[in-house]
């Protein structure tokens, strides 16, 4: 197996921690041309940055995320995480799924331990136990470790899902509509839990969501995807609220409404327009995504 290695760009390492270039997803179509879901999706993510991916249902947001997670095969283009092109799931990226996906025959503790065992095969029992207990107490489940999923509420189950993801101590946390099935109060609680964790652990994260408020409140940059098929990164909105963010403060800030309006306007009017990616700072258009970046990337790629 040949491994593709990318030379780090001096001084720019953290600014391009995750690079997604010309990403394509095709599904075979026996009656004609292959069906392209995602086409030429480009995005660079800084280390420690929080990206939210927003777009209409079925536009391919989750496809991009699952490709980044390594659960979905990449048809063309590539994804580089920490100077390595990914070729499948890895311990550096963990996923929180839309449904908690807990094993019903294992306790909360057992569910989190499941991944810990395989990621730290050489750690002794006490260390593993410590990691699991720490992750569960971070999400606020220190008292419910011995409970089975059916004894937990939906929100608590999703907390276990988050604990399971962070227990692997990943570099990138991928959230696939993690709060989609929760009521708004629980959703807010869990948003805070995630933000706390990200602040503490300095994780890079990407969230796929339908919720405009959530996208603005949580992310540093909000990536808007055009409608599928051949969906791509259409606009990027930079959101510069200071961190740590206080919910009340953010929601009362007038710029919050600007961002919100912008996203809604995109979803309502511009999401069907295909074109090059525009970048906005606040509501100000600051330019298309630099095409040279793509050329630059392809230059740096060679087979080791």
């Amino acid at each position: 197996m040949s491994l593709q290695v990318y030379e780090p760009m001096p001084g720019k390492l953290s600014s391009r921690f995750v690079e997604i270039y010309s990403l394509v997803k095709e599904y075979p179509n026996p009656y004609g041309d292959d069906f392209r879901v995602v086409e030429h999706f480009n995005l660079n993510i800084r280390q420690g940055e929080f990206i939210s991916l927003i777009g209409h249902s079925g536009c391919g947001k989750s496809t991009v995320l699952t490709m980044l997670a390594g659960l979905n095969e990449i048809s063309d283009g590539g994804i580089i995480v920490g100077n390595r092109e990914i070729s499948g799931p890895g311990p550096d990226r963990s996923v929180v799924f839309q449904s908690p996906c807990l094993m019903p025959w294992l306790t909360a503790f057992g569910n989190v331990m499941l991944g810990v065992k395989s990621v730290y095969p050489h750690a002794d029992k006490a260390t593993r136990k410590q990691i699991v207990e720490h992750s569960l107490s971070v999400v606020g489940l220190a008292d419910s470790m011995k409970k089975y999923p059916r004894e937990l509420s939906g929100g608590m189950q999703q907390r276990v899902g988050i604990a399971r993801a962070i227990a692997l101590q990943p570099k990138v946390l991928l959230l696939d509509e993690p709060f989609g099935r929760l009521d708004s109060l629980t959703r807010m609680e869990l948003q805070d839990v995630i933000l706390d964790i990200l602040a503490k652990e300095k994780l890079t994260a990407m969230i796929v969501t339908h919720d405009v408020d959530e996208a603005v409140f949580m992310a540093d940059r909000c990536v808007m995807m055009s409608n599928g098929p051949k969906a791509t990164c259409s606009e990027i909105l930079e959101i510069d609220f200071p961190r740590p963010r206080d919910r009340e403060e953010v929601f009362n800030d007038p710029t919050f409404f600007h961002y919100r309006e912008h996203l809604l306007a995109f979803l309502e009017q511009r999401s069907h327009i295909k074109g090059e990616t525009r970048t906005y700072n606040g509501n100000n258009f600051i330019g298309y995504l630099d095409k040279n970046q793509i050329a630059d990337l392809s230059q740096r790629v060679h087979v080791a």
Partner: protein, 549 residues
């Protein structure tokens, strides 16, 4: 506090009922704890009392209809007769056990048992004599009554016979006269033929009339009054008991293995004395040989047990042992194969033709095939190490061998193999289904967590397919139990199937009742086997909240 304990007991009971699958018991428990009495009483009426009434109605129909159908093996036995058959079988089993115990009891205990048995025998003999007398007395009275009943019939029959004979003589005379006239040329020959014909018809009519009365007499004679039957049965039962006690005393005093051992040792001692005193060398050799022989016999009789007779209870135990051996074999094959099928499409494709072709094959065919194949492994089963070991009483030293009572033989092995062959398929197919239909999300989680093959198998795939695996095993056990009874009947492998077959073949007055009894035993055991599997299935399924139970 008291309330919470009460609640705990209540919910504990309800959970037990739920897990064991006896949902019927739910309303009575709730009623006992005073929960919505109106609803519970309604539920009890609907789901307990009505079904019980229905079953009673079925028993009633059986009781009424059964005796109306006469078969070669007697009339169809009523439920009461089947129950009597059960009691007889139980008594038979009990007696066998008593005799087996008498055979090995030793020392002072033997003396005590002997005394008790002798006393009991004396009492029984007295009782038997009284009962026999009573029975005779009843029979005598009944006979008088019967005679009184028969006398007019007999008188009528005699009168009828005399009348018919007279009529016949008259007709004979008529015929002779006509014949003489024909010879003399005074009458038509055809008139004689008509007369003969008429004569035959009249004779038949006369015979029929006699037959009716004769049948009435026969019926009365062959069907003695109920009180005579009861008295006879009571007398017979005690006479039977007397026989049993005589046999017991026989065993205690003569056949008992310790008595025999002492006997042989005494003989050996006697021979020894003669050997010492012997003057003739030939005699000395003879005595020495006798000592050796008697010592050996004494040694042999030490470990002897009473030869076991196949009672229905023993047959049941053996059937259960056989079905579990076969079921175990089936599960041991089906689960790994099923998991491989579920995991690998190529493997599944390879196995599919084999499953499709062999699954519909009748158990009878498998039985014959296994009989031939397994038979070849054991040309001399009596001496084969497998059976010698399995049937050795002293296998585990002083504890003894808990399997010795099964008397394992090749027939048991190929019956078990037949069960395994037929029970294999449902478990295999269900396991493959369970493994292949595992939740895709769970597999994604496994990928993200980077679980290796084995932890994926044991942590995710097997636990999530267990409910379906157990559903398959449950069907397998049911199929296995049904197949086993047929296999035993056909192959004469000891078990309930053989019991039924033997009863069918020997055709005593009890046979039909015994067959129906066996039918119920098979059914009830099958029911409990199914319940056990339901219980296990509920234990491993995680959706209904019983995974922790």
């Amino acid at each position: 506090m008291a309330d919470s304990i009460k609640d705990k007991i209540k919910y504990g009971l309800l959970k037990g009922i739920d897990v064991s699958g006896f949902k019927v018991l739910d309303p009575p428990v709730r009623l006992a704890f005073g929960e919505e009495p109106r609803k519970q009483v309604g539920d009890i009426a609907k789901y307990m009392i009505l079904p019980i009434l229905f079953v009673l109605a079925c028993l009633g129909i059986w009781t009424v209809m059964g005796p109306n159908h006469k078969t070669k093996s007697g009339e169809v036995p009523t439920p009461a007769k089947v129950w009597t058959a059960y009691e007889d079988n139980a008594r038979f089993d009990e007696r066998q056990q008593e005799k087996a115990a008498d055979f090995i009891v030793e020392g002072a205990e033997r003396e005590a048992v002997l005394t008790a048995t002798t006393e009991e025998l004396a009492r029984l003999e007295a009782e038997a004599a009284t009962l026999a007398e009573a029975s005779d007395a009843v029979a005598a009275t009944a006979k008088e009554e019967t005679e009184a009943l028969l006398a007019p019939l007999r008188a009528r029959l005699d009168a009828l016979k005399a009348e018919h004979e007279a009529a016949e003589d008259r007709r004979e005379a008529e015929m002779n006269a006509l014949a003489a006239e024909i010879v003399a040329g005074q009458a038509q020959p055809s008139a004689l033929v008509d007369l003969v014909r008429e004569n035959e018809i009249l004779e038949d009519e006369a015979n029929d009339a006699e037959d009716v009365i004769e049948t009435q007499i026969k019926d009365i004679l062959s069907d003695p009054p109920a009180e005579v039957k009861a008295a006879q049965m009571a007398a017979n039962r005690v006479a039977d008991e007397v026989q049993h006690y005589k046999k017991r005393i026989d065993i205690l005093t003569k056949e008992n293995r310790n008595v025999k051992e002492a006997e042989y040792l005494a003989k050996a001692e006697e021979d020894r004395a003669q050997l010492v005193a012997a003057e003739d060398p030939k005699k000395a050799v003879r005595e020495a040989k006798s000592i050796a022989r008697n010592a050996e016999r004494a040694e042999d009789s030490k470990t002897q047990t009473y030869p076991r007779t196949a009672t229905i209870f023993w047959q049941t135990k053996r059937s259960l042992a056989t079905v579990f051996v076969g079921f175990g074999l089936a599960a041991a094959l089906a689960i790994p194969l099923g998991i491989m099928c579920g995991l690998n499409r190529i493997f599944m494709a390879c196995l599919t033709p084999i499953i499709s072709i062999f699954r519909p094959v009748s158990p009878v065919v498998w039985l014959l095939i296994f009989q031939i194949i397994i038979g070849a492994f054991f040309p001399d089963p009596e001496k084969h190490p497998l059976f010698v070991t399995l049937n050795d009483e002293k296998w585990f030293g002083w504890i003894g061998n808990p399997l010795a009572f099964l008397q394992t033989n090749p027939a048991m092995i190929f019956s078990a193999c037949t069960v395994a062959m037929c029970a294999l398929w449902p478990a295999l197919v269900n396991t493959a289904l369970g493994v292949s239909s595992i939740d895709k999300d769970h597999m994604n989680v496994a990928k993200v967590l980077r679980l290796g093959f084995w932890s994926r198998l044991f942590k995710i795939i097997i636990p999530s397919s267990l409910p379906l695996v157990f559903a398959g095993l449950r069907i397998s056990l049911g199929v296995g139990w049904m197949v086993l009874i047929a296999a035993e009947a056909l192959s004469s492998s000891d078990g309930l199937g053989k019991f039924v077959w033997d009863e069918y073949q020997n055709g005593s007055s009890q046979s039909f009742a015994n067959i129906i009894l066996a039918c119920f035993v098979v059914g009830i055991i099958g029911f409990f086997l199914d319940r056990i599997m339901i219980f296990l299935q509920r234990l491993v399924s995680f959706d209904d909240g019983s995974a922790t139970a």
